[in-house]
Amino acid sequence: MVSLKTEGGQHLKEVILMEEGFRQQYVVEVGASSSLDLVMVGLPGDGEISAEMDIRLEGRDAECRLNTLYLAGGNSRFNLDVNLIHNSPDSRSSQLLKGILKGEASAAYHGLIKVPQHCIGIDAQQQSHALLLEEGARVRHLPQLEIYADDVKCSHGSTVGRLNEDELFYLKSRGVSAEDAARFLQTAFAMEVLALLDQSTLDYLRNALTQWVIM
């Protein structure tokens, strides 16, 4: 178990790289006027990744942003469980999950957002999007909202899609190879999360990323 805590007006950013065999539970606490930016990248290779995040927002103006990208191929499995509790009024959270799957890979995401009765003035966002490149890949994104308070701004959305045929054709008709055309569109899809990574992390991941995206 790893515990992460920000308080006293601190702003923290953590990048969590999850590679083949990664298995970890995080307990996260964000205090008043503090924020935590978590960027998670999942590259399960041919194995399995499993992460559990217990996130508690424990003070006014506490904010947590969780941005995750996973790229799963072969027979790999990606599992992410997020339990996020707004334990204080006027706290904010946003989650963005983006996944690209091919081969026989499978992914499961369970995202619970809980807002107890006394907690007004909450802003909670949750988005999960997956791209399935091949028939054999499987994805289950399960958002779950337990809202017991009024005056809560909460939005969530979940999509599972494929690469757009018209976009692929347009690129290929100009001479872009089929492989690069797909990588261009995958890059566009993943960019929101990739853009949050610094150069040294990108350099470290370069070999693993190039089969998926154009950097």
Binding site: F169, Y170, L171, K172, S173, G175, V176, A178, L185, A188
Partner: protein, 251 residues
């Protein structure tokens, strides 16, 4: 010397199990400009789509060859490498992919397959800037998403800009004049005309004479119900504009 560039023989093609092209024959030689006109739904864009290898069309019969090489077995990208180019009637928007990165990849592949050396980043930029001038586009368009948020006219200019970059041997321009204001029409028209050489060929799909004020064609063909029912010289466009298609169809 063999002057034949594109040959289409008895081409039949369908979309969603509906036959649209019902035996198209067309030969295009080097240096020629051909115009294809015809009523809405005649199959003009279908012909462009089939030539460029769009997987949504199924070819059931016939042959297409470019410089003696059969195209039907080739993927869309292989056709582009061989020198085919389609300017789309409705260019696709691709968010998150910039015009510059996309074109650099496209031009890189095209040049590699034509045995030309790779361009450095600065050579690419210099070429791009000079080709942008053909259609009077600002270089800021290079860093924008492909066609994303472009006005109708800007999309059409972007198509011709790409044509200028890729230097195809046969370009099919599908209603590149539609949606252009008078100034843009002149710019695009003269831009296309500058790209005309003795070595390439252009097929213009259009409904109007106006583009032909800038690009004088060698032939005009009328496509109706999946077949070319009339071929004639440049004067036919004016006649069609005056009299419509009925007199040709009913003949």
């Amino acid at each position: 010397m063999n002057k034949e560039l594109l040959s289409i023989k008895d081409l039949h093609a369908s979309v969603a199990d509906k036959e649209i092209l019902k035996g198209v024959n067309l030969t295009v030689n080097k240096g020629e400009v051909h115009v294809i006109m015809g009523p809405n739904g005649a199959g003009k864009s279908t012909l462009g789509g089939v030539l460029s290898g769009n997987p949504k069309y199924a070819v059931s019969q016939g042959e297409i060859s470019l410089d003696g090489e059969s195209l039907l077995e080739m993927s869309p990208e292989e056709r582009a490498w061989a020198g085919l180019f389609l300017s789309f009637q409705y260019p696709t928007e691709i968010p998150g992919v910039t015009n510059a990165t996309f074109l650099k990849a496209a031009l890189g592949e095209v040049r590699r397959h034509r045995g030309l050396p790779e361009l450095s980043a600065s050579e690419f930029l210099r070429t791009a800037k000079s080709k942008l001038e053909y259609v009077e586009m600002d270089k800021s368009f290079l860093s924008r998403g492909v066609n994303v948020g472009f006005s109708g006219g800007e999309k059409k200019r972007n198509e011709i800009f790409q044509m200028a970059m890729l230097e195809p041997r046969v370009a099919i321009l599908d209603e590149t004049d539609s949606g252009l204001d008078v100034d843009a029409l002149r710019i695009v028209g003269t831009g296309i005309n500058r790209l005309r050489t003795q070595e390439n060929a252009i097929i213009l799909i259009t409904h109007y004479q106006r583009l032909l004020d800038y690009i004088v064609p060698d032939f005009i063909h009328v496509l109706h119900d999946g077949r070319i029912i009339k071929s004639s010289g440049a004067q036919l466009a004016r006649e069609i504009e005056e009299k419509g298609y009925d007199w040709i169809i009913n003949n």
